[in-house]
Structures are given as C-alpha cells and as structure tokens.
Symmetry: C2
Subunit: 769 residues, 2 copies
Amino acid sequence: MNQDYIIPNEWSIIEEGFNEDRVKSSESLFSIGNGAMGQRANFEEKYTGETFQGSYIAGVYYPDKTRVGWWKNGYPEYFAKVLNAPNWIGINVCINGEELDLNTCKKISNFRRELNMKEGWLSRSFDATLANGLEIKVETKRFLSIDLDEVGAISYNVTPISADATVIFEPYLDSGIQNEDSNWDDQFWNTINVSTENDQAFIEAHTMKTNFHTCTFMQSEVFVNAKKQEQNPEVEKSATKVSFKYITQVKTNETASIHKFGGYVVDRNHDKNQLITAAKNTLKLATDLGFSTLLSQQKEAWANIWEMADITIEGDVKAQQGIRFNIMQLNHTYLGKDARLNIGPKGFTGEKYGGSTYWDTEAYCLPFYMATKNQEVAKSLLTYRYHQLDKAIENAEKNLGFKNGAALYPMVTMNGEECHNEWEITFEEIHRNGAISFAIFNYHRYTNDYSYIPEMGLEVLIGIARFWHQRVNFSEDKQKYVMLGVTGPNEYENNINNNWYTNYIAKWCIDYALENIEIVKSDFSTDYDRIVTKTNITAEELADWKKVADNMYFPYSEKHQVYLQQDGFLDKELITVADLDQSQRPINQKWSWDRILRSPYIKQADTLQGFYFFEDHFTTEELERHFDFYEPFTVHESSLSPCVHSIQAAKLGRMDQAYTFYLRTSRLDLDDYNKEVEEGLHITSMAGTWMSIVEGFGGMRIKDGLLHFTPQIPKEWDAYSFKINFRNQILKVNVSKKGTEFELEGTKELELLVNNNKILVKPNSLVTV
Amino acid sequence: MNQDYIIPNEWSIIEEGFNEDRVKSSESLFSIGNGAMGQRANFEEKYTGETFQGSYIAGVYYPDKTRVGWWKNGYPEYFAKVLNAPNWIGINVCINGEELDLNTCKKISNFRRELNMKEGWLSRSFDATLANGLEIKVETKRFLSIDLDEVGAISYNVTPISADATVIFEPYLDSGIQNEDSNWDDQFWNTINVSTENDQAFIEAHTMKTNFHTCTFMQSEVFVNAKKQEQNPEVEKSATKVSFKYITQVKTNETASIHKFGGYVVDRNHDKNQLITAAKNTLKLATDLGFSTLLSQQKEAWANIWEMADITIEGDVKAQQGIRFNIMQLNHTYLGKDARLNIGPKGFTGEKYGGSTYWDTEAYCLPFYMATKNQEVAKSLLTYRYHQLDKAIENAEKNLGFKNGAALYPMVTMNGEECHNEWEITFEEIHRNGAISFAIFNYHRYTNDYSYIPEMGLEVLIGIARFWHQRVNFSEDKQKYVMLGVTGPNEYENNINNNWYTNYIAKWCIDYALENIEIVKSDFSTDYDRIVTKTNITAEELADWKKVADNMYFPYSEKHQVYLQQDGFLDKELITVADLDQSQRPINQKWSWDRILRSPYIKQADTLQGFYFFEDHFTTEELERHFDFYEPFTVHESSLSPCVHSIQAAKLGRMDQAYTFYLRTSRLDLDDYNKEVEEGLHITSMAGTWMSIVEGFGGMRIKDGLLHFTPQIPKEWDAYSFKINFRNQILKVNVSKKGTEFELEGTKELELLVNNNKILVKPNSLVTV
C-alpha cells in the first residue's frame, strides 16, 4: 500500500506539517548528495525524537567481520558496511536560554520541507513556540555543492516573533557517531585530532581496519538582519567533538542567521598528512564565494544536469514529480567524475546493502548514464570493473578454486573483493559475471566506441569466458554441458540446476569473447599481442570454450513451448500470483525460506531478464509466450522487477499493464510502497524507471548502429519528452497523443527509425512523426 | 591422517610425556562425565599455556541471538550454546612461594595421564622442577560420581623431593568463566551470591536469558602423609570467585594432600531458593563417605555399566581400547536417568554443535541404549520427543506455515525449540522427522513393548505424517507427489528435489502411522478415543495421506538400476573419490561450498541410510548395486558415515572393507583422524561404532520378533564378545574364528537364528555354533 504525504509538484518534493512518525522517512526522501558525499535530511539543530542519522562519504566503508553459524570455506572474511561519517551539519540553537528541539516544542506550525530538484537544495521552515513560551520562526537551506564537491553549505535563520531574544548558534563537528547497523558493537572511527584555527575547526579521523583518512571541517559566519557580525566565538573541544558558540542579540522580528560551510576531505584525493591544508583550501574557496554565490553556482550546475537528463511528463504531476525524483537521486549518487566510485543500491541515503557495486550498475544503471552524460561516464563504470579484474581472478582462484585466470566478479563490493556472505549468493549467484560482459557489449552498441575493448574490456571478457567454461560440466546423461548449483536473478530459487538465464548468458559471454578476440586480433594487433602475452590464450583453449558454447543445455518445455527457468520448474505447484491469498503477500515477509524456494513465485525478471538483454534473439511471439508464462508467477518483490516488465509489456502493446508497472517503479520510494523508505532509497532501480520511459514507452533501441523508436503514450498522460546523448549527438524526443517530435542539437544530421520507418532528423529542426 | 600418542591398553587411555601442543587434545580425550555433568580434563592447578576450559552441566544452555546477514522469515530467534559452567575443580598450588604451573616449570618428567575406563577415574602424575629449583612429585586423581551425580572428587598430592617445603593449596570456585564460542561477547552467567560456611563455599549463579539457577560448591580436606590436618583456612572472596588457603609444612619425601569435593546443584532438581541447602546435603553425603569410599563406589558403578555394555576384542589391543573408549564416553554423556536430557553430539567435551539433541539420537544412539540398558532408558529417549511434540507442532505452524497439527521436530534442540539457523538445515533437512518415527518402530521391534505407541507415540506419528502429507505437492508434470527443496542426510547437497531417502521415509512414516492408527483403534480403544479427540483425525484425512504415500515419486535410473539420490544426480561429473586428487581432501576444508554442492561427493550415507533403515524392503542384490554405486562417491566426512557403511559391507561379506570402516569410526577421536579432537569428542558416532560390531560383524537383526545373527570376524582379531539385553533377557555373544558361543542369563530360554538357522539357547548354558 502506498503512502501519500508528499505534496505533488513538478519540480519539488514537498512535505507540509510536522509529523514525528514521518521524520525518518523524510530523512530518506529529502536526502541530498553530490556524487562525492551525501546525507540524510537530518535536522541541523538538536532533535531528541526518533531519527536515523546518516552522512556518507563516497568510497569510505568499513569491513565488518563475517560471522556465521557454520563457516564455509571460501567465505569472504568480511562484509562491507556503509559507514556513517562524522557529522558536520550540526548547529545547536539556543534562544533565550531554551534549546531548540522540535521534539519538545510547545507548538509547531507551518512546518514545510522542500527538496528543490531544479536547483539542488533542501529547505525547511517552521514556526515554533518554545517551552519558555517564546515564539520563533525558523528557515534553513542546505545543499552539497556540485562544483566544489567536498563542501556543503547551510543557511540557518531564526526570527523571534513574540519578544526580543538572545540567539546562540553552536555549530559543531562530531566524530563520536554511530552506525544504525553496528551489530557487533565495533567502533568504526578512530579520531586522531580535533583542532581549531580562528573560526575554522577540523576533526581528523580515520576508519578502523580500512584506514581511510578524513578531515571533517567547518567554518561559520553569523548575521543579524543580513549584516555580518564579527565575533570571537567561544570554543569547546572534546576527544571527538568541537563547537563554536556565537551569541547574537535580535529584536522582535529581526533575524539571526548563520552560514555554515562544512564537509570532508579524504586521502583518496589528498595526501593524508595534508588533509587540514586541503580542508583550508576548500573552505577558502567556499567562503570567498559565500553562501549565495555558491547557491547560484549550484542552480547552474543542476540546470546543466537537467538540460541533459530531464524527462517531462504533461498531464500527470505525480508522474512528473516521480521521474524527476528518480533522476535527481541518481545524480546525487553518481556523477561519473571518479572511476574509483560506483553506484550503491541505497546511494547516500541509508546503510542497508553494505556495498557500492552490484550487478545493478551494469544491468540497470548503465543505460541511464550512457544516455544522459558524456560517454566517458559510462566508460568510467566499465573501467571500474577492469581495475578490479585482478581481484575477480583472485576471488575465483582463492575462494572458489578456479584456475587459469578465470574471473568471478563479486556480488557485492567496495574495492573489488567480495563482501557478501550468504553462500547461495556469494558462491552461486554467478550470473552477475554475465551482466559485466553484457555491459561491454551494450556500451559498444550504444556509443560505437570500440576503444574500451582492445584497451581493457577484452581481458575482462576473457576472464569471464574462462569462468563459464570451467563452471559447467558435461552431463553424460544429457550429452550437453550443464550448469549445476546456481542462483539466478530470481533469488527466490537457490542452488538450482540449469537456470536458463545463467546458461544463456554464459554461452553468450563465450561467443562474445570469441568474436572480440577475432576483431582485436585482426584490427588491434598490438593490443592483441599484449593480451595474448598477459592471458596466454591459445587456439586450443578457445576451441574448448566453443565446444561448451555450442553444446550448452537449455531446459525447455515442449508442452508450454517455453524455456524453463530451471530444471524441474514444472514440478512446482503452479498457482498464479492472482490466485494466491493476498494475506500471504509479500511472501518474503510471510513465508519461511523453504516455502518461498519450492513455490513457483519469482522475485524479479529471470527468464524474462534474458529476453530483455537478448530481445533480438527471439521473436515477439516468443517474448509474448514467455511473458505470459512467467509474469503471472512474478511477485515483483525486488525494486528491480517492475521496470523490465514495464518495458516488455510496452513492447507487447499492453500499455495499461506497462503503465501499472511504471507507476510502481517511479513512486516506489516517494509513496513508500514497501513501508521501508526510512531505511533509505532504492537508487539503482531508479535507473530502471528511466528505462521504462525511454525504452518502454519510447521504445528506444539500437539495432545495426541505428536508433529505433516505437513511441507509445500512457492514456493518463498528455505528453512526455526525454533527451538522449546518442554518439555525441543530442536528440530530444517529444511524444504526445498526436505524434512524436524529434529535435536534434548540433550540426550533424541523424538517421533513425520510427516504428521501423527510416527518417532523417536535421540539426535544429523539428521532425514530427 | 591419524595421530598416534595414546598408549595402547585394554582398559585405560594413557598418555606419557608432557607435550604442550597436545594439552587441548588430551583435555578432550581424557574428559569425564556422569550423565548429569561432565568436564574436559583441564588441570586443577594454574596453567598458563594453551587450554580450552570446559565444565558442563546437563540441560544448562544459553540461547545466543541469531544474527545473520539477511534475515529469513521463520528463523529461530536464537541458537543454543553449550555453556561452560563455573569452575569447581580449581586448586592453585604454591610450593615454597612458587606457583605450580606446568607451562613455566624448569623441567617436567614422568608425566603420565590415565583415564581408567574400568573404574571410571582420571589420574595424572609428574615430576617437576620449579623455577625456584625445588623438585616435586605430583599425583592427582579425579572422578565424577555415578552414584552421587551432583558431585565430583579430587585427590591432589604433592611430595617435595629436593627439600622441605611449605605447600599451599588454594582450592577455589570461579564463575567468572568464558565460553570459547562467545562470538558476540555476551555474558552468559550472572553471579548472584558468593558465600562460605566453615570449610564449604558456594557460588549461586544463573544463566542469562534461560535463567537456569545453579549453585557451584566445594569442600576440602588436607592431609600430610595421609594424616588429616585441621585448619581454619583463610578465605578470599570476590564478585565471582571464592578460595580457601590451606598451608601445610612437609619434609622432603613427605606428601601434602588435598581432597576436594565439588560440583553443581541445579534448579531442574531442586527448589531454586534452596540450592545452598541442596549443596550442603550433597557435600555431607560425599564427605561422610570420604574420597576412598566414594572411589570404591565409583568402581562398583562402572563395573555394573561394563557388566552389561562391555565389548571384548581379543588379539587387537587398539581395537579393544577403541571400542571401550566409545562405550565409556557414551556412558559419560547419557545414562538414561532423566527423560528431560538427551545426547549431545559432543557430550560434555566441547562446545561445538550447540545443542543436545540431533537426529543422531534416534538414528544412531537408540540401538546402543536399547541393548545395553534397561528398556526404560530407550523409552525415556522416545518420551523426550513426545514431551516436545507441542513445540514441534508450533515450529511447523509458526515458523514454516504448516497447518492442522503437522509437526516438524527441530534439527538441533535443547528444549524442543529449533536452535540452529542455517536455512538449508533448519527449514530443509526435514528427514530428521522420519528418524523420530523410525525410532518408535525400532523400539517396538526390539523390545516388543507396544505401550509407548498408544500412550504417546501415536500422536507423534500423526503429527509427523501430517507434516509429510503437507510437505509434498502434486507434480502435474510427473503425475506423482514430489518433495521439492530438501537437504538429505548427505549435507553436501542443499535444496534438492526428490531426495530418495526423504521421499522414502516420508512414505514409510505415513504408512506406519496409518498402520498404528488401525492397531490402536482396534486394541486400545480408550487411547484411540483420546487421540482422536485431541488430533481430530478423520477418515477423509487418512485417505488423503494414503493417496500421497501410494503415489510418491522416487527418482530412478533405468541405466544404472538404482534409485537416484535426488533429481538430476546423473548430471554431475561422476568422478569417484578414488580418482579424486588426494590433495583436495577433505573437501569441506579445501573446496568452496558451491563446488561441494555440485560435486557428486557424499558426506555420509544418504540413499544407503535408507537401505540401512529399511534393509528388509530390498534384496541383497539391490543393496549391493546401490552400495557399489554410491559408496565410491562417499567421502565419509561425517563421523556418522563409516558405521553404516561398515554394517553394509559386512552384510555383503566384504569383511576387509567393513573392518577399514570400523577402524575409522572406533579410533576417530583417539587417533584424531580429523585433527580437531581438541574441540571435543564425537559422542553420537560412538554409538555407531557399537553398531558396527553388533549389527555389522555380529549381524544382529530382529525379524518377526526373533533375534538373528550372522557372525563374522575380522581376520585381524582372534575373538570378540558383546552382550545385549533383548526383551529383558541378557544374552552374551562370543565370536571367535572357531565359531560363535551364546550364553544366556536368567531363567527363560531364547530362540534365535544364526545364519538363518534356528537355535534354542537355554539359560546359564553355552551354545556353540
């Protein structure tokens, strides 16, 4: 059941009225980020009610020790934890001796929060009557700078309404913070130095075990009625905290303000012994600009993001709000500036799913970044995996006993090492390897940039092909190669045999590796020689691979004329979801694991994921038959499920169904369908929402190097538009009930196909179809 | 590879020479117990070297919180931990100001440990040169009384050799102890009172969470040259420790001695507010008898145990020592006096496998206790499960979603609740339910006592039949009932479909329940009416069960003419263990879990377990075919594996193979085959060793109410003998190379079959065959 408290608005996420039960949910929904850091929308001032504090630095994590009942050989020694970083946003506020705390105010009215998506800032305002009877008005604004991505800025304004007041602002830094998910009571941070210099404060701290060195910093300015006050604030320091005390006197209806600049510098970007210097440089840049200039730059930076990434929807404000929310949060999480970073499933909004990289990146996020950024960003995502190839080979070798450079990429990772520890996932959900090869194919298909393959990608393709070649075995019984003991994308099946999707992508990976070895051999001989020297591939080995690819087993039902999700699928009690007692849903909260496993219910697209990736390999009739066979058993209990089904329903011309799936993915978090948004947002599935519109409703495909569209529009909408960067040409697509318009930037013309008819779009002119 | 440091001896386990690397292993091997408590052979005096401290009280456990990466609905909230109890054996010894510590002595010679199996005591002696140069001789003896099972006694004797000496004995109690397996740093014990009265000391402590109240107690006497010394010892007390200080002056070659009596009283047996009174009563009984009288009683008690349970082997001292070690340790663990207790896989010798009851009890231990004790003991073991039926029903209902009184007994339990938390075990290793029904059948077959079934057993059979009936589903594809997602006895396969053993025992359980419902209906109508009222069984329900039993699917290979361990077994790469690179063994230490799962390797008898239980259902040719198919893939990496194979090899006349399997089971711990004996002993498999001789070499079976034997003898032995209590008649069987002798106690004659020939054995006369 969806919640409904966010005010519909095309460009903003708005909450009105203070409800303490919604504080944690709103802390997630109003999260902000700039790709380098991010934070939940925690209040700056003290709050004694229920809250989930979170501020996260990209690439800074903690390796928690794996502890299980019965250890299994090959388990990773640790699993990563998303790490709550020192708090730099805190500003305690004291008015006439009374500490401001929304949990203890006599009265709160006109409470309003706004996350302005267009301009990239978060604001909050309210009127409060304090316990001492004083009435005040508070307005705050906060953003994390896109341009100076080590810094954030806060403007915090207090206006006494009922009497003159002494307003004390106490901005602080605090490294004595906790993780929600700190099961084993470990300490995560080691604070080494708390220092101040004039009006600047610094906390140097490093993470335990991983030893990431950071400096958290702040500097503040105070104003009365916008006039800057020179002050020598009182300093208070403890082992893990530092605060300044600024005292202002304001008359009734005058405003006391503080501008606080703060953030993190980390040793990924700076010499770890020079972090204070780096922090000072950053603070100087920020304070020289000042709050309002920095805010103007922020608006401009977001205008640039929206210029490329915006999707407009006319006639449906909630749908418009939903898609922009998704696009904004993706940009909060990853902007593609740093190839060492990746896209965590909860971004910077929560701690669950400790890890930054899942197959979500390749399978769901890559298309969004390819189409809405420069192609270097997508290439960065591929390069990330290349840099971790050695660790993937080590993982396959040391942990799983593979030989000869076979690579198994981890299911969940921060640094290339596996950091998840359920055997059925870590050891068996190996289809993830396939998505990594597929992303290379997809990148080349979309960008036509082949350079990544000879430079880096072919080594990845070889490592992955080697893995599949060793992972199968020949069944004397079937006289085919089989793959035993896997978990497919549908994680509601574990340790199954011959998962069709996994077998299919395994065969494809081998074929694709072989194909590219031939291309690199003939067209990039220097690269080829280097790769042969490095990998020792031989003609015999490649022939062995081919034997596997050519003789792979695919379970098939003659009766149903469908590929079977796995061996034995037809032994299940095949009751559709529609006929399942609704009180049993969601099954992952109602049923024990064995019951889920032996049921036919599918968590997310599995066989259909294969039909999504390899649509061209099958006829529409085959897609329809498989969709009609599997979708009725699909419970969509993964946030990644509805988008693929939406795209396929649209392809099959079932727009009502496609729209229903779309709604579920686009406002999943905003309307908190799963009643868990307080834990954080589902970032990676947000890219699936984008795909639902562009590939689903818009029908965008790349075939033989050409863009294809088969535009459709949900009957609930008047029009929608999106933009894509296709091979460095910017194309805007406007779909309305009357037809589709194409608008091209730049100077080159572009040939494309609409409903399989070729059209030529000329630069700076509109083509209507 | 087996170790070899225990001196062969028919009646004793002996270690000579002090080796600090063996301390932990010997602490396991020289463990003692009396069914109510038990302890590792930790030194009484201070020892600063590597040690694994353990003293355990039957039925006292700790529920540790289940913590896993991804929670699964239906998990037990806790898993049990075997709990290290307060230390009562401690005696610090100080000689001329130097504390005795074998880790810091200048020299140790003549170190000898003996576990006297015949008489039930543990002794230790050594000569040591202390750091201060003093030479001393130490002799200790310790036992846990079988008769007074709340008390143990220690005699500790110190003789200075090189000079006169002041010998200070400091006996203590200590509840500030730790568990080896205390992953989450939880506290296990809450000490509520440390008190003394005259020369007695008491520590009252209760376990956290489970709130088991205990009082640990002690009282000591000191002697010089066997002359009792009256002393008013100095008392030292802290929050969790109490000690007395006894000072003795001895001349060179005189002996200072202390007799310490100590142990536990628990609120399972006493009012929790009267534990000190109970402790005083126990101490009075023990001290009134004194060390040597108590020791004489101990010898007598053990003589009685051996009188019934002994197996003699002539011509092979190590085999003799091995079987007696097994029989002794079984008796340390469980004597059948208390139906609330059961047989933990590590007994009182370690912490691993936290839990007292596994299917081991029914499948492996019951035959030993049926044949070597009064039949009440075996009935107690059945009653234990009856008392936990409600919890088994609750487990099936609340955790797994079953209806209508279906019962699923836990895989591991202390109190009837499941306390293991791997989904593939807890939820899926459901064949355990079958062993519980089989034990009822086996008890009746052996004892001819039907009373348990109408009184209690039928309700258990009904609950279990209901479980199987609901656990299967009808496969439209196979037109049979299938059982998906199980783990069989071979735990190297998880979440498999149609495990033959599980399907077979499920069908048998239903058939057996139906059969007994008919018997009780016709012969025990009062019981029947009560049971019908309680369980609401109806004719329709029973007909539904029958439909399942009559249409169960059993995977079968026409090509190999064998039942398949599970669906898809023939897809595996079928390389036998003989052809497997030995460097890969044991696979559970060398391979990742996925590799183990997709391999054909079998941890312990699975299909063959069915052939063991239901031998009569199959021809010897069928057994041979299945043995020849499956044994070559069996790695026997469970301690429970060799015994079943030994019995079957003997049945097939393959005595060399049977003997090899026998050796592996009988000296598994003594020779530390798996290099893990320091963690504790494999108690439940010790009953399998007994079966290997009696059912394997002796060929004992019960058919149509008659005892059958087909005696064979390993060529390495001259003779062997065992005794059984068959339906309250005591029969001794002596097998030699010349033939077999039967000797019967009592007054009634007994008809039995030897190699299928009927013979009549008369009381108190020898029959030779």
